[in-house]
């Protein structure tokens, strides 16, 4: 058997793959957080809960209506995104003129509500979500076994992440968005409906979280706790990457997933804390974050 630094290559690549999978979710979620923060100036604490809601919705669709994975991948983000729009219109729009911390507190409250309701109906144990038949099985690449679904998740996240990056950095709509982030008053003066853009941005960010939730459902068990555990790690990822750059959020998401995977191979005891340790080191060395502009 081949080994690298005394670790069997199979185990090494296996953990790297898991790292990439986790990284996909870190990237998707931190991307959503960064987009929302850019427009709304609010840190969406409910992001984890909305991700969980995506997984739960996929589970409910499959088990109560028989609607499978593929339709869920489209339906769930649209529905949860619409709920997000409703949340922005009813709650968040009143907070833009207030201190940052109120946005955090309100979305924290929303996260508690969503998680509490889910726990009441689903319990705290994880519920399994069956893979669609078309994505079962896998390929032996010689140095490791690659399950099809995992390859699919990594591929789709990459496409979605870079699609979002392209839409924001390279299209006209994205240019409006960036302009409105810099100076909403001026953009409004040009006749662009900024409040509607803000609403849609939040809806898009929430839909992204729900999309990640559906993708996560077959990999992790569907459980009401899955969001809150993840969101705190994603916060650390966002602190490391800095929210100023979309590309930064994507790169640090995938990068930290890999770092976490490698830690599981070489020093498993630290795997749950390594991202936070990296965060502390980055704060010491580059306080503005790896891709941050100012503080």
């Amino acid at each position: 058997m081949h080994t690298i630094f005394g670790v069997p290559t199979m185990a090494l690549f296996g953990q790297l793959l898991i790292g990439l999978i986790n990284g996909s979710f870190y990237a998707l979620l931190s991307l959503g957080l960064a987009v929302i923060f850019g427009m709304l100036n609010i840190i969406n604490f409910a992001h984890g809960a909305q991700y969980m809601l995506g997984a739960v919705a996929a589970y409910l669709l499959l088990n109560y209506t028989g609607i499978g994975y593929w339709p869920a991948l489209i339906i769930v983000p649209i529905v949860i995104g619409a709920i997000g729009i409703l949340i922005e219109r009813t709650f968040l729009q009143w907070l833009y003129k207030l201190d940052h911390l109120y946005g955090l507190l309100l979305t924290f409250g929303l996260a508690l509500i969503i998680e509490g309701v889910s726990r009441n109906y689903l319990g705290t144990a994880g519920l399994p979500y069956n893979l669609p038949d078309s994505l079962r099985g896998g390929h032996n690449l010689g140095f490791m076994f690659l399950p099809n679904y995992r390859a699919w998740v990594i591929g789709v996240s990459l496409v979605v992440c870079f699609g979002t990056w392209f839409a924001i950095e390279r299209t006209r709509l994205g240019a409006y968005l960036r302009a409105a982030t810099e100076n909403p008053t001026l953009v409004r003066a040009f006749g662009i409906n900024v409040p509607r853009m803000i609403t849609l941005t939040y809806g898009f960010g929430v839909a992204l979280a729900a999309f990640a939730g559906v993708m996560a459902a077959p990999i992790y068990n569907v459980s009401p706790n899955m969001g809150s555990e993840l969101i705190i790690v994603v916060f650390a990822v966002v602190v490391i990457g800095g929210m100023g750059s979309i590309l930064g959020a994507i790169l640090s998401g995938f990068g930290l997933g890999i770092v976490e995977g490698l830690t599981k191979v070489f020093y498993p005891e630290a795997s749950s804390t390594v991202i936070f340790v990296v965060m502390a080191i980055v704060l010491l060395v580059r306080p503005a974050g790896l891709f941050g502009r100012g503080t």
Binding site: F37, I43, F91, W94, L95, L98, D99, H100, L101, Y102, L104, L105, L106, F108, G109, L110, A111, L112, I113, I114, E115, G116, V117, R119, N120, S228, I232, V233, F235, A236, V238, V239, E269, S272, T273, F276, V277, M279, A280, L283, L284, P287, A288, G289, T295
Partner: protein
């Protein structure tokens, strides 16, 4: 020109007249309370009130939202419990050990967190607290999922037996009042005035020559210390230190208590913690719905009731509380 304080004359150097009255009422109520309600519940309330006072020192007077205050509270609780049980330290030394843990952790976490501002600050404090939660889960001395159980309360000065709930109550009351006066002293000192200046306009405070980072770090360490005192005392009150106290939910609870009572008010955190704890006890039977109710309270407070109970009262009566 003679300086006239718009909020009324100051009495005995203790803030405003209304605050002195408030303090007197607080002391009288807390002395009478154990003869009316269940002392263990009141003791726990006082520990959480002290915790919320510590949290409010940061958010209410420096404008720094720490979303990871469970770190200092929970770890102080572990160290105090361990010191009392495994080292057999007397209660006062055990509490001091716990409090010191809060100070040291506050110094480390604070030094990291103040390197970023605004919303990042909240995320960093939350992430660091979560990291130490995982550490607490792993290291042997915390007892992992079991926690440290049946912590002895011991004897103060070898005489007063704290196993007696009434004795313990007045012991906790003394700690609580001392902690309250300490926080009050900080807020009303020249140091506290600089903190408020930083909260209102940090660039201006910098331009006036204040090294705001040092002030923020100092405030952070003081807040973590008081949170540690609260956690250490709680470990002896409930005689257990467990993972519950280091979770992000605990950090959220103290935010809620302070928000409900009134951010940036002297008495708000105390009122808020009594209200929230009473609610948690009364509604324990509905299980997970408590989480939902707390979420709803968050939303309602942020949208409609940002002053909190004490803040609203003070606003209506045009006094400072």
């Amino acid at each position: 020109m003679k300086h006239v304080d718009p909020l009324g004359p100051r009495v005995l150097g203790f803030g405003t007249q209304s605050q002195t009255v408030g303090f007197a009422v607080l002391v009288v109520v807390l002395i009478a309370a154990p003869f009316i309600t269940y002392p263990p519940f009141l003791m726990e309330c006082m520990c959480f009130a002290l915790f919320a006072l510590a949290f409010n020192l940061l958010v209410g007077y420096v404008g720094l939202l720490s979303f990871g205050h469970a770190l200092y509270f929970g770890w102080a609780s572990y160290v105090a419990a361990y010191a009392a049980k495994s080292w057999g330290l007397p209660p006062i030394l055990a509490i001091l050990a716990g409090t010191l843990t809060g100070t040291v952790l506050g110094l480390i976490a604070g030094a990291l967190a103040i390197r970023r501002q605004g919303i990042y600050f909240a995320m960093i404090t939350l992430a660091l607290a979560q990291m130490m939660y995982f550490v607490a889960l792993r290291v042997p001395f915390t007892g992992g999922e079991d926690g440290i159980q049946s912590v002895p309360r011991g004897h103060v000065f070898g005489v007063l037996n704290l196993a007696n709930d009434t004795t313990m109550y007045f012991f906790v009351l003394v700690i609580f009042i001392a902690g309250f006066l300490f926080v009050h002293r900080i807020i009303h000192s020249p140091f506290g005035e600089v903190l408020k200046a930083i909260r209102e306009n940090e660039p201006r405070a910098i331009s006036l020559g204040y090294k705001t980072e040092r002030y923020k770090l100092m405030a952070f360490v003081l807040s973590a210390t008081v949170a540690g005192l609260a956690g250490a005392t709680k470990a002896l009150v409930v005689q257990i230190a467990s993972l519950t106290d280091v979770t992000w939910q605990m950090s959220g609870d103290v935010v809620l208590m302070t928000l409900v009572g009134g951010l940036g008010t002297l008495f708000g955190p105390i009122v808020g913690s009594f209200v929230i704890l009473s609610m948690q006890y009364k509604l324990a039977w509905i299980g997970q719905w408590v989480l939902v109710i707390q979420g709803v309270i968050f939303v309602v407070c942020v949208l409609l009731f940002r002053r909190g109970i004490v803040g609203e009262l003070a606003h209506r009566l045009r006094i400072r509380l």
